[in-house]
């Protein structure tokens, strides 16, 4: 198939960016979206032009490094799918595709479609862990956890940290990302002891990083590649209020 591509090009954080048009022929419907960009980059090299910079790594939907806005949707037209798992069979011959980076104040653009998501690391550093050191743990089966609780914790823990939730949100809120980690750890007995401190620190850090507030549009859930539910945001709010009320 033949495609018209309009792609965001920006030299650096400080530079002004713009949409540039490209024509691409010989796109096959079996290609992944990123393989289509590989093809374009190969053509740009042949023409002596700088390639389009984009982030990607595992290309199997689990590392969370890829992520671009495609026709205005985070990760493209399919719901709950990473950019790397999107295939060109979702498009048709003659389509025009608009390709932009994820945009949020907390995710500065590095070059073209590459963004900096360090803010997510900072949120985890604020408390997204259980304070255990190597060598301390008791025998694994001495901590019993019900099947259903484990499964629910897993559903939240499955977050890949891609940032699609932030890019989709009109407020650039990181509530889905942050709440997923809070739920994962709050549901497990190992994580309960520090749950109050964790939720306060992580929510505060989320604000410090410049993410906006959640206004419950639930747009994030639609784009989340791991289908993380917005119910976790409610749990985060519950945990946060509980922590404030029972503050020692």
């Amino acid at each position: 198939m033949k495609l018209s591509l309009k792609i965001w090009r920006q030299e650096s954080f400080d530079a002004k960016g713009s949409m540039i048009s490209y024509q691409l022929d010989k796109v096959s419907s079996d290609m992944s979206f990123l393989e289509m960009l590989d093809l374009l980059n190969e053509e740009l090299v042949q023409k002596g032009e700088r390639v389009i910079e984009f982030d990607h790594d595992c290309r199997e939907g689990i590392c969370g490094q890829c992520g671009i806005m495609i026709n205005g949707r985070a990760h493209g037209p399919l719901s709950n799918t990473t950019t790397c798992q999107l295939h060109m069979r979702s498009f048709k011959d003659g389509d025009t595709i608009y390709i932009e980076p994820f945009r949020a104040e907390a995710f500065p653009i590095i070059r073209d479609l590459k963004i900096d998501r360090k803010a997510f690391d900072h949120i985890i550093q604020a408390g997204g862990y259980i304070s255990t050191s190597t060598g301390q743990p008791p025998e694994a089966n001495s901590i019993l956890i019900s099947h259903d609780n484990t499964e629910a914790a897993f559903d939240a823990a499955a977050c890949i940290g891609c940032g699609a939730c932030v890019a989709t949100c009109k407020n650039s809120s990181a509530a889905l990302f942050t709440s997923a980690k809070i739920t994962h750890l709050a549901l497990l007995p190992q994580g309960k002891l520090e749950a109050a401190q964790r939720v306060i620190n992580m929510v505060d850090q989320m604000d410090t990083e410049g993410f906006g507030h959640c206004s419950n549009t639930e747009a994030c859930e639609v784009e989340c590649p791991q289908d993380i539910a917005v119910l976790h945001i409610a749990r985060m709010n519950y945990e946060y209020n509980k922590a404030l009320v029972f503050k020692p």
């Binding site: 079996d30 199997e60 590392c63 862990y129 050191s133 956890i145 499964e151």
Partner: protein, 637 residues
């Protein structure tokens, strides 16, 4: 140089305890004076960096990705083995040791493998404490499943995302140490040179991939936990950024490489669908618990797969290996698939695949049960291929996956350069010539959580007295200049072919000539062709863009290293005149096509020494001594 594996004295079961009893220690007050560089933030790197930081050392952690949580351990699906014997089905440390050493076709060290099994149970404790949501039974106890190459259920799992959950545990431990100021992470940094001073590893040269800045970092020890190099084949199950550059550049500074050509092809990957393809996606081996593998009995059978009647299907694994059937080890399952595909019985549009069929399991257990076990894998399959595998057989094919080879290390995981350690897939140590499923997550974790935290302090104890090195040392200046010269060269060549062109060409060449099977003839041809390809690379390479954010420039460095590594892979395969594990030399097979090992002449670890550009490597041999197991023919029939 004589290789000394430094295996501790004593009975097999006591060696690791003996080592720990006598390992040197560093006083807590002195630990913060010692700097350790850890390259890579996968399971091995993150767990090592976090564990050493908890002890009080000062850690610098590097990764090329945008955050530590992206490292490719994240993609491991199936599970992690541990000899907990929770299923009461006859498992033990010894049994796990034996399965692993047999699975590796008796080409690994007894002491290393035993230690791996011995430390496995503690890893499950560690991960559970971190909050890893392993599968549970309804009573709240941990659940297990079985995996290829063994007859017990010892695999712990978190749906089909075990690697992700274990990695997040290690990543969170690392982030905790960063918040405490014990670790400084350098994301989007690539190590481009190892700095060796007076024979010891003393630092690295790294490139900041955001600014293009070349940086010098000094340390008392350097840990390479940079994963495997299966991406050398271009098409593989690895991430696009996985590379050999850190270990290869260390190799060129004096660290030996071992088992270089021992690369596992995973039997259950999705087949290649066209020339544009950049990646072969893995479907977890756990699918083989319920899926049956078959091809049509007749070659070139073009019927719709579902319409091929039962008696015209060849369940070749069940036929050839009745004892293990669809759960035969990976090397055997992959080779058997290639044998059928080469015989013209392959299925799919490119006739390059075999069927993995769930119809019997769905009939017996119900669709819901299969869904509960594998839904994420079936969904992923449908996203990529557009096919619903509940209705039709999955199409699968072998793909380059795991490198058993890597940097030679002794029992302490230290390379031939003192102060340079290699952990996880980056070393060669535990899997012999073939790795068993669910042992890679285990090895990465055990190396990082439990071994390096003893062996690195043992080395550092003497470093306290050593002269403090600064980055002004001439060795740093030379190493930095070498990096700058190479980068400038790539930008200057201005030919007409991209790094991807060379990577794909090399990958295809290696797949055909040094892949699932090899012969003297194919390897000798490959060596000549790789040399020619390398000459072309330095003549015709084209890199556009600048020396700042430039993914093409990053690729060029990695491909340049692959073009040297690929040649060594061929020499390694050529000189090993036997078949063992994943290394199948066509000249050395039994009458019924099984691998024919030669314990008389090849019961050793090959360790290759770099002698300089365009000079042949020198082969050193570390004999493998078996005192506890008998070398048998590895039969799964």
């Amino acid at each position: 140089m004589k290789l000394d594996a430094k295996i501790p004295a004593g009975e097999l079961a006591e060696k690791w305890s003996n080592y720990k009893k006598h390992a040197k220690l560093v006083n807590p007050a002195n630990r913060k004076k010692l700097d350790i560089i850890v390259i890579g933030t996968g399971l091995a790197g993150a767990s090592c960096a976090a564990s050493l930081a908890e002890q009080g050392y000062h850690i610098k952690s590097f990764c090329f990705q945008d955050t530590a949580r992206r490292a490719h351990s994240v993609a491991a699906q199936g599970g992690v083995n541990a000899a907990k014997n929770y299923k009461n089905d006859g498992d033990s440390v010894y049994r796990m040791f034996y399965d692993t050493i047999k699975g590796g076709d008796f080409r690994s060290r007894e002491a290393n493998v035993y230690r791996l099994a011995e430390c496995s149970a503690a890893l499950i404790d560690q991960a559970v404490a971190q909050g890893v949501p392993f599968a549970r039974e309804y009573g709240g106890y941990l659940n297990n499943r079985s995996f290829g190459g063994v007859q017990v259920s010892r695999t712990f799992y978190a749906r089909g995302q075990t690697g992700q959950q274990l990695l997040l545990g290690a990543y969170q431990a690392l982030m905790r140490q960063e918040s405490l100021g014990k670790v400084k992470t350098y994301t989007r940094h690539e190590m481009l040179e190892l700095v060796v001073i007076d024979g010891k590893a003393k630092g690295i040269i790294a490139r900041d991939l955001l600014t293009g800045q070349i940086e010098r970092h000094a340390a008392n020890a350097v840990v390479l936990a940079t994963g495997g190099y299966g991406k050398v084949y271009y098409l593989s199950t690895l991430a696009m950024g996985c590379n050999s550059s850190a270990i290869w550049r260390a190799h060129k500074k004096g660290a030996f490489m071992s088992g270089v050509s021992w690369i596992q092809f995973h039997p259950t990957s999705l087949p290649q669908s066209g020339e544009h393809q950049s990646k072969l996606t893995l479907m977890s081996e756990s699918l083989r618990n319920d899926g049956r593998i078959w091809v049509p009995k007749q070659p070139e059978d073009k019927r719709i797969l579902k319409d091929i009647p039962e008696e015209e299907r060849d369940y070749y694994l069940e036929r050839r290996y009745p004892a293990f059937g669809n759960l035969s080890p990976r090397d055997i399952a992959s080779r058997a698939a290639k044998e059928r595909i080469d015989a013209g019985c392959g299925v799919g549009p490119m006739r390059n695949a075999v069927c993995l069929d769930f119809s019997k399991a769905i009939k017996e257990q119900g669709k819901d049960k299969i869904k509960e076990k594998y839904s994420n894998l079936f969904t992923m399959y449908e996203k990529i291929t557009g096919i619903n595998a509940y209705e039709q057989p999955m199409l699968i094919s072998p793909a380059a996956h795991f490198t058993m080879g890597g940097l030679w290390v002794d029992y302490q995981l230290m390379s031939t350069i003192p102060g340079l350690f290699a952990l996880g897939e980056a070393n060669f140590a535990d899997h012999g010539a073939n790795r068993l499923g669910a042992n890679s997550l285990l090895q990465a974790c055990v190396d990082g959580y439990f071994i390096a935290p003893y062996t690195i302090p043992n080395y550092l104890a003497d470093e306290l007295k050593a002269e403090k090195i600064t980055t002004e040392h001439v060795a740093f200046i030379d190493a930095e200049n070498a990096v700058r010269t190479q980068l400038a060269l790539f930008l200057k060549i201005n030919g007409h072919l991209s790094p991807d062109y060379y990577h794909k060409t090399l990958g295809k060449l290696l797949y055909d000539k040094c892949g699932l099977s090899r012969s003297r003839e194919s390897l000798e041809t490959a060596i000549i062709e790789i040399k020619q390809l390398r000459e072309s690379f330095y003549r015709d390479l084209k890199i556009t863009g600048d020396d700042k954010v430039n993914s093409e420039l990053e690729k060029a460095g990695r491909v340049a290293d692959y073009l040297e590594l690929g040649e060594l892979m061929c020499y390694d395969a050529l000189t090993r005149e036997e078949s063992c594990g994943a290394h199948f030399r066509e000249e050395y097979q039994t009458a019924d096509g099984e691998a024919l090992r030669n314990d008389q002449d090849f019961c050793f670890v090959s360790a290759w020494e770099w002698k300089g550009n365009n000079l042949e490597h020198e082969l050193h041999k570390e004999p493998l001594v078996f005192e506890n197991v008998e070398l048998t023919v590895r039969s799964y029939k």
